[in-house]
Subunit: 243 residues, 2 copies
DNA sequence: AAAGTTTAGTGCTGTGGCGAACAGAAATCT
DNA sequence: AGATTTCTGTTCGCCACAGCACTAAACTTT
């Protein structure tokens, strides 16, 4: 897998011409852990295409009841709704893993959209995939237990991180999954005992990816398959062996 | 509230000219309880704008684990994804309440879209609202208990039905909410005891709508508010008194 | 070195919902 | 009229997770 220069897999599907134009109109920024890219209910003014690192999409209700509803790495983008003219974000976006992203002003981006039917089509496909992800998430969160969900989350993060390690405390994971911190401790402890992962004060280490896939719910695989279906040109993630 | 002729509130927002054109290109069909309008993963070839009655949108995973992810009455449509060029439905659509709908061939509909920027904009807004609904549903289904969720479901159905009664067995409700049949019996029994609803072998009767709103989770109100925000021209549902 | 903070492990009780099963009542079929 | 099916009520044991609290490390700050 090529790793330099970092590139966004969505944008890679554009023609060189369109790609150059977009890059010229955007700005490559650093994303740092915890950085708030967008608040719920606000117009953050930009769309982002991660080149490395990843962004967590969060929704919340009253009483600190929050949940993660999306994880965006260099296979996706933040701000799809802008492509259908909706600039108020219904969700919060926080940087989860350090990296860089192409930041483009919403206005510039939508202007760009008008010019490129390829880009339009790409955004439509990505939006559809996002809807499908959400649909599945409704089901997964309702039926599946903490351990498989945790495993799925780790797999998704692993795909988006650039190595086998990343930083995430139990507390953080708990707020992503919508469970108690001690439930995460329990589930992560189970994975630890099976030698699937290792962790220490927030540093999570994936030891056996194949085994992780086995304890994960099928939603992980199913959604990867959907991604292939809707965004077929994306290079698929290698998952059949331990990296 | 005017009730005749039955009309779809989305389409009502079009200009007379566009509206007439759409009606001419579509066909008014009868919808009957249980009728399968669209299968998961298939291209059903049509989009539908309910005029009366309502449609349930269902998703499922392995092992009969299914859930309702949408309820569409004359305030919405079935097949929004067609408006962004995605014709394979990620969900199943079943008629929940008898009525009529304007049925339009997908191809005709997308052709129509090209001609009318108003229609385009309308579809974009509706799609955004659909995404927001899904986002909330992820949270609601995860955190809220059966009784408030049941109440919310009844309210949504009440809004889309044309009276205070509709047909739905506990078993049916259970599959919508993703819980056991006996959990529904329990929750419905609680509402019965509070004289909020009455039911008998599938005939559900809403007795006290105000009280129903109080036992429902706030997601009902919150989503109605969002609907107003995104589709502001829709006449709002009267909810502050017992109808 | 001491004090404070962050992260993780553990142990209680309480409970909402599951799975499964049984029973009665009402409707429908033969 | 009797038999079958559909709908609802109820119970029992079980379990995953909630809520809460306390402890023990490990790292950070002063």
């Amino acid at each position: 897998m090529q790793r330099a220069p970092p590139q966004n897999k969505l944008l890679q599907q554009l023609s060189d011409q369109d790609l150059q134009k977009i890059i010229r109109h955007g700005k490559t920024i650093q994303m740092e852990f915890g950085q708030l890219l967008c608040e719920e209910g606000k117009d953050c003014g930009f769309v982002y295409f991660p080149l490395s690192g990843f962004i967590s999409i969060l929704t919340s209700m009253q009483h600190n009841q929050g949940l993660e509803v999306g994880l965006i790495g260099n296979e996706g983008m933040l701000g799809v709704l802008s492509s259908i003219g909706v600039h108020l974000s219904p969700v919060q976006a926080v940087v989860q893993g350090n990296g860089t992203a192409l930041q483009i002003e919403t206005q510039v981006f939508t202007a760009e959209l008008k010019d490129s039917s390829t880009l339009q089509h790409l955004m439509q496909q990505y939006l559809a995939f996002y809807v499908i992800q959400l649909t599945r998430l409704v089901c997964c969160n309702h039926y599946h237990e903490t351990e498989p969900r945790l495993a799925r989350w780790l797999l998704m993060t692993h795909d988006r991180a650039d190595g086998d390690q990343f930083f995430l405390t139990h507390q953080y994971l708990a707020s992503m999954l919508g469970v108690r911190r001690s439930s995460v401790t329990e589930a992560a402890g189970a994975l630890l005992q099976k030698n699937i992962i290792d962790y220490h004060r927030g540093q999570i280490h994936i030891l056996n990816r194949t085994a992780l896939e086995k304890v994960s719910c099928s939603c992980y695989r199913d959604l990867l398959d959907k991604q292939q279906l809707f965004l077929p040109d994306l290079p698929s993630v290698q998952t059949d062996f331990v990296r």
